[in-house]
Amino acid sequence: MTENFKPKITLFHCINAFGDADELALNGKDTCEIQTVKMACSSMVKDVFLLRAFEAGADGVVVLVCPEGQCRFLEGNIRAKKRVAWVQNLLDEIGLDGRRLSLGNMAAGDNAAADQTINNLLKNLAEVGPNPAV
């Protein structure tokens, strides 16, 4: 990865798990640029939205959802998990690398978990590099 690579990350998050990207320890630091997309429930994540985030220039995409068994809409986080897995396979198929997309479970307010998920994605992006389709 080039030294100047500052990944652009689109963060889809359930508003029940996570409130504000400003609360992220990573936000504002010179590690990445984060754009957020709020959802009433993580089940609102659709495969096309994830792909369009990459079309719009994201190097990586993170989906933050509630822990399994704690979704207030019961199965929303399970649906999100399956859709993320589907798109990861699709990204592998088209040669963009599925590691650009990740899902993280976090209990409400556990911003350390959110930071951890984003940190893991940044490690993957350091290996795969900028989005080649931009």
């Binding site: 659709k46 495969d47 096309v48 792909l51 369009r52 990459f54 079309e55 699709l90 198929e93 088209i94 040669g95 963009l96 080649p132 389709a133 931009v134």
Partner: protein, 222 residues
């Protein structure tokens, strides 16, 4: 409904490779229901292809449209302006839909994006199962509503082969023995005497043999 499966992206990329401007046309009926070619699938495929082509440095413009039913001229003519703007149409309909496009838009290549597989039903969430072979001579009244032509691996018409184990087919242990299902159903219906009816060797002429079949209804022709 007709069940189909979208072709692998690599195969679709190869099919559309000669073209710079394509229209992806979805169908809002059978293939939408089996998640192969509805409006959502058109959007996903278009996005994936744009990403894939851009990554490879290929120029491509992709337009998206979905019509109610691609096997009917009345609906596909709504797509005529979009078809005229593009070099080729990548159809996510079943084979009938692709050919309907080819018949209507003679000068525009109609390319298949879906492999049409079978006539079936939604067995449970996310699972589609073949139920009908289109044999052209339905005997479901005798078989308690379960088709041995489609669901028996050996297409037996006069009872089980005797090779099933625990209700599963000896050819494919993931498949229920159709004849066990038939017998259980006939028992519920009180129609076990149907098993005494001798079914002669099937005449396959009404089925897929000797070229495309045609059905004519003169009473609907003006």
């Amino acid at each position: 409904m007709i069940v189909g499966e979208q072709k692998p992206i690599a195969e679709i990329k190869a099919i559309i490779a000669p073209y710079k401007k394509i229209l992806i046309m979805g169908c809002g009926t059978c293939v939408k229901t089996c998640f192969a070619g509805g409006e959502d699938e058109v959007a996903v495929l278009a996005s994936a292809l744009r990403l894939a082509c851009k990554k490879d440095g290929q120029d491509i413009e992709i337009e998206e449209i979905t019509v109610e039913r691609q096997c009917e001229d009345e609906f596909i003519q709504e797509g005529a302006p979009a078809v005229s703007r593009n070099e080729a149409v990548l159809s996510l309909a079943c084979g009938a839909g692709v050919q309907a496009l080819a018949r209507r838009f003679v000068k525009t290549p109609a390319l298949p994006g879906v492999n049409t597989t079978f006539i079936g039903v939604l067995e449970k969430q996310g699972v589609f199962t073949e139920e009908c072979s289109g044999c052209g001579n339905c005997g479901l009244a005798v078989f308690g509503g379960i088709c041995p032509v489609t669901r028996c691996a050996k297409k037996l018409l006069n009872g089980p082969c005797g090779g099933s184990q625990n209700g599963k087919c000896e050819v494919n242990p993931d498949t229920d023995c159709a004849w066990q299902l038939i017998i259980e159903r006939l028992r519920i219906l009180g129609q076990m005497d149907n098993l005494r009816i001798y079914i002669p060797p099937k005449n396959w002429q009404p089925s897929l043999s000797g070229g495309p079949r045609k059905m004519v209804r003169e009473d609907h022709m003006i």
